[in-house]
Symmetry: C2
Subunit: 196 residues, 2 copies
């Protein structure tokens, strides 16, 4: 390695561009420029070209992002309050990034769902991992595994949908609404279980 990790810079630039503009709109020339790397290095480190670069991003940034979101979920003792705080943190981050950087794989996931089987499968696996991890977290307050998994899946969906609406409107309100709705959903699930 001559430069301080050319490969990492390429990965970083690709991840940023895929996240902001999606798969199709991201050109490899632009990736090389943004990474301050010669174009040839891109194919040296990623012989599979654009698809390999995207799959690498999905399988690296995806799990990382999942861990980051899950880590936000223990900010306070009350889980419902934690949900509100986590979505508020996401809202603040999104606004600070000028509504550019939301979910690293969401845009790509929709783009490739019907056109690239390799990348579709990669995004599906990441979503599945997120739901599994979140279901474990909800399991700490909801005894029924099916109920915990339903909450987990709902949280991921609400987050993705909230990112879409917040980015489109350039307004954090959808994300804040999503957090309050998830808190209400958790509270009512816990209360309902207590009745049995």
């Amino acid at each position: 390695m001559g430069q301080p990790d050319t490969r990492a810079r390429i990965q970083g630039a690709a991840g940023m561009l895929f996240r902001r503009h999606g798969y199709s709109a991201t050109g490899l020339k632009r990736v090389a420029t943004e990474a301050e790397a010669p174009f040839g290095s891109l194919y040296h480190f990623f012989p599979g070209g654009k698809q390999q670069l995207a799959e690498d991003m999905i399988r690296t940034s995806g799990p990382e992002y999942g861990r980051m979101v899950l880590a936000l979920l223990d900010s306070v003792p009350d889980p419902a309050e934690s949900l509100v705080h986590a979505f508020e943190a996401a809202a603040n981050d999104l606004a600070a990034a000028d509504y550019a950087d939301a979910c690293p794989i969401g845009t790509v996931a929709l783009e490739v769902a019907s056109s690239n089987e390799v990348l579709r499968a990669a995004t599906a696996e990441v979503f599945e991992e997120w739901v599994d991890a979140a279901a474990q977290w909800f399991g700490r307050w909801v005894a029924d595994p099916k109920a915990a998994r339903s909450l987990a899946c709902s949280m991921i969906m609400m987050l993705e949908g909230a990112f879409m609406l917040s980015r489109a409107a350039r307004d954090t309100e959808p994300l804040r609404v999503a957090g309050r709705s998830m808190a209400a959903l958790l509270r009512t699930t816990v209360a309902q279980a207590g009745e049995d």
Copy 2:
């Protein structure tokens, strides 16, 4: 008009491709081919090129789709049950379309959010219209306008997020979970208002 509405065929083909593959991945050559229209006709009817074609799609298919979804929400007297049925209908439609045709503007909305101000604003206006219309519907069962609007926004977000996960996994389960969660959210909101 010589052929039975060349313009409409171009609109239809563009809408289908934008919906399935997004904005960047949709080529105008392919649009013309799919529409069985000569390439020149495309620029004859849409001098603004790709962007005009996309904006037209967003402002036409967007409101149409909103009305279609809202119309599903009165299938049965109980509103919570209606929500479950509406999401189930969306799930069945998506599976029948081989997970290709979900929300007509969702993919485009994420793609253009940080790169095309005209199209971003168009998607934002459509989402706003949807939330307004849904808030009116929820208002029939929830007296507080803020609560009704919160439910409406949550429903749209949950639907968009569910489309993303269902398309990625090629599985209708996320959409069905979303419907049940929205039903629970409505029920708890109605119950909570009754306590006051």
